[in-house]
Symmetry: C2
Subunit: 137 residues, 2 copies
Amino acid sequence: MEELTIGEVAKRAGIRASAIRYYESVDVLPAPSRINGRRRYDARVLERLAVIQIAQQAGFTVAEIRTLFNGFAAETPASARWEILAQQKLVEVDAVIRRAQAMKRVLEEELLHCRCLTLDECARCILEEGESDKLFF
Amino acid sequence: MEELTIGEVAKRAGIRASAIRYYESVDVLPAPSRINGRRRYDARVLERLAVIQIAQQAGFTVAEIRTLFNGFAAETPASARWEILAQQKLVEVDAVIRRAQAMKRVLEEELLHCRCLTLDECARCILEEGESDKLFF
DNA sequence: GTACTATTTAAAGTGGACTTTAAGTCAAGA
DNA sequence: TCTTGACTTAAAGTCCACTTTAAATAGTAC
């Protein structure tokens, strides 16, 4: 079994050593053995980091990743853990997409079509709760 | 002209008084006159707040809103200010949408289809830079 | 006059995922 | 031996848009 220093793990995983220490501090990575006070990792830590990274790509927070690893009964299969967490996260991600699309609509359909000379004029367009959205700007 | 206390402005604008003080501190709202040390606002502040609010809906940061108000030559029309800022912001918002859609894809097409028993097994699927994405999970 | 509410300020707190800093320890190469 | 360079820790800093807190002052209602 390969033994790695924190620097080697960081390089192979493409992250900073400080991130690895942080994960340990928030119980997302288990504390490794030590040699003369230095952390010494089994190569399997790279698998754990790969799972952390894909979870982050999917939008999971560190707290949720901790739940993924430590928040289920030991016999709960990985597939079931992902399913529970991913269903919740999908709701959030959909909300993010909708919010961003709403911003895009305001930018394209209102702000980019503005014909006002002054921002005060814009304000009056906004504040008039007018009949036609098209005339706001 | 109507004169308003900070509390009245807050109520009418639907925000907290602390937000109004914050906007003043970051130069997004001009400092109002004072009576016995208390801020006293002209009703036109409500127009300014309306502009701030629509800018926020469009995803602008406070720094960008400050630019909108204070970062252009005085003769620059509102329409041109919006256009410059909105073009930039659209790029960012599109990036947000794409990132969120990528998350959604990982959630739906990878994590929700996981059949692994253990997370270690997941890791091996991820780490194999395999020929078929479909078999990752 | 008394109570209650609104206001004032500066400074600290919030959340999230780290990074940076400071000060010290340890190991390997010339 | 000396000098890098990597490692250790705890604590503070980062970004952002505010909110909260504390302690003091001012205005309003009775």
